[in-house]
C-alpha cells in the first residue's frame, strides 16, 4: 500500500491516509450534488415566481 503512495500525488492522497480521503471525496461529491440540485430548484422557483407575477398583472 505504501509503495503505491509514491506513484503519483493523487494515488498518494487517497492511499496514504489508509484510504480515509476516499471518504472525504465521497462526502464532497454528495455535498456538491445536493448543492447543484438546490441551485437548479432555486432557478426553477425564480422562473415560477416571474411567471406568477406576469399572470397576476
Amino acid at each position: 500500500m505504501f509503495a503505491l503512495t509514491l506513484l503519483n500525488s493523487l494515488e498518494g492522497f487517497f492511499f496514504g491516509s489508509g484510504k480515509a480521503h476516499v471518504v472525504t471525496g465521497v462526502a464532497l461529491i454528495i455535498l456538491a450534488g445536493l448543492a447543484i440540485a438546490l441551485w437548479r430548484m432555486d432557478r426553477r422557483l425564480s422562473r415560477l415566481e416571474a411567471e406568477s407575477k406576469e399572470s397576476h398583472r
Partner: protein, 347 residues
C-alpha cells in the same frame, strides 16, 4: 398538528445526519495489518517490519514479551522474536529455514489488548524448498486475547478507513429505493384515478430519486477506484444500478418529448411502473444470483451480517433514516414546485 410533525421529521433528520457525520468521522478504526517490509525474504536470519492502520495496537512502553508474531506457511507456524513495538508497527527477527510447506507466508500478530491481527500473503520466500518446517523453527500457537477496543469500526483489508463510506454511499441507494417506491405508488394512483395530482407526485419522486441514484453511482465509482482499482468494473450489481438510472432518465426524456400532450400523465405512469419493476429485478433480485465484487452476496445486496457489526449498525441505521428524510424533504419541495407550475399552467 401537521406543523409539529413537519418540524419533527425535518429537524430529526438533520439531527440524525449531524450525529452520523460526527460519529462516522470520529470513531476510530480497529487496528489491522496493511504491509510487511521486506515482502521478499531470503533464507536465514533477518528482520521484518509489519505496519498497521487504524487505532494503535501497542502502547508506549509495552513489554516486548506481550507481543508475539507468528508466520504461517501452509498449515505450519514459523516462530519469530519481537524486537520493537510501535503504536502502528512491530519489528521482528525471523530465521527463515530452507524448507517450507509454502512460499507464501501469512503473518499473525498476537497483541495483549487488540486481539490478533492478520495479514495474508505478507511475505514470500522464493528460495525455499517444499517440505515441513524443521522442528527447531516451529512456533507454538500463542494464546489469543479478547480485543478491548471500545466503540470502533471493524477493520477490513483493502477497504481500511474507507469503511466509513458505508454511511454515505449506501444510504443514497436506500433513499433512492424509498423515493422510487413512492413514485411507483403515485403512478399506480394515476393509472387508477387518472388524477393529475398523482402524476405531479410521480414526477417529483423520479427527479429526486434520480439525483440520489446519480450520487450513488458517482460515490460508488470513486470508492471502487481505491478498492478494486478501476472507476468501473463490469459487474451485475454495478451494471444493474447503471441501467436503473438510465431507465429513469428515460422517464424524464419521455415526459419532455411528449410536451403538453394530454396523454403524458398516463404514459409516464405506465413507464414508471415498468421502471420500478426493473429496479427491483436489477438491484434486488438479480445480484443475489450472480457472482460479484460488490459486498453482500449472501441474500442481501448490501453488506452481509459479518461485514456490518454492531458499531457500524449504531451509525448506519441513523444514516439511512437521516438521508431518507432529507431525500423525502427534497421530494416535497419538488412536489410543491410542480403544483405551483401546474396551477400557473392551467390558469
Amino acid at each position: 398538528m401537521n406543523g409539529a410533525w413537519n418540524w419533527i421529521w425535518k429537524g430529526g433528520g438533520i439531527v440524525l445526519l449531524a450525529y452520523v457525520i460526527l460519529r462516522g468521522f470520529s470513531t476510530p478504526l480497529q487496528p489491522g495489518l496493511v504491509t510487511a517490509a521486506p515482502s521478499q525474504l531470503k533464507l536465514g536470519m533477518q528482520t521484518v517490519t509489519l505496519t498497521a492502520a487504524g487505532q494503535p495496537f501497542g502502547k508506549e512502553g509495552a513489554s516486548l514479551s506481550e507481543f508475539t508474531v507468528v508466520l504461517r506457511a501452509g498449515d505450519q507456524l514459523l516462530k519469530t522474536e519481537t524486537q520493537e513495538v510501535q503504536p502502528h508497527g512491530i519489528t521482528v527477527a525471523v530465521n527463515v529455514p530452507g524448507v517450507l510447506p509454502s512460499r507464501a507466508l501469512d503473518a499473525f500478530v498476537f497483541t495483549p489488548s487488540a486481539g490478533t491481527l492478520f495479514l495474508g500473503n505478507a511475505c514470500f520466500v522464493e528460495e525455499a524448498a517444499k517440505g515441513d518446517i524443521p522442528t527447531s523453527y516451529v512456533a507454538n500457537k500463542p494464546d489469543e486475547s479478547t480485543p478491548q477496543l471500545g466503540f470502533s469500526f471493524p477493520f477490513q483489508p483493502n477497504i481500511i478507513e474507507s469503511i466509513r463510506n458505508l454511511l454515505w454511499h449506501v444510504p443514497m441507494w436506500f433513499s433512492m429505493f424509498f423515493i422510487m417506491g413512492l413514485g411507483f405508488v403515485a403512478s399506480l394512483g394515476q393509472l387508477r384515478t387518472g388524477k393529475v395530482m398523482w402524476d405531479l407526485r410521480a414526477e417529483a419522486a423520479v427527479r429526486t430519486g434520480l439525483l440520489f441514484g446519480l450520487l450513488g453511482l458517482a460515490t460508488g465509482s470513486l470508492w471502487a477506484r481505491w478498492t478494486w482499482g478501476a472507476w468501473w468494473v463490469s459487474d451485475p450489481q454495478l451494471n444493474g444500478a447503471l441501467v436503473t438510472v438510465l431507465l429513469y432518465s428515460g422517464y424524464l426524456i419521455l415526459r419532455s418529448a411528449m410536451g403538453d400532450d394530454d396523454r403524458v400523465g398516463r404514459l409516464a405512469a405506465v413507464y414508471n411502473v415498468f421502471a420500478f419493476v426493473m429496479l427491483v429485478i436489477l438491484l434486488m433480485v438479480l445480484p443475489r444470483y450472480t457472482e460479484s465484487l460488490h459486498p453482500g452476496k449472501d441474500g442481501n445486496p448490501g453488506f452481509n451480517k459479518y461485514d456490518l457489526d454492531n458499531s457500524l449498525r449504531a451509525v448506519f441505521y441513523p444514516a439511512v433514516i437521516g438521508w431518507g428524510s432529507l431525500c423525502y424533504w427534497m421530494y416535497t419541495l419538488r412536489l410543491r414546485m410542480n403544483r405551483i407550475a401546474y396551477s400557473l399552467l392551467s390558469r
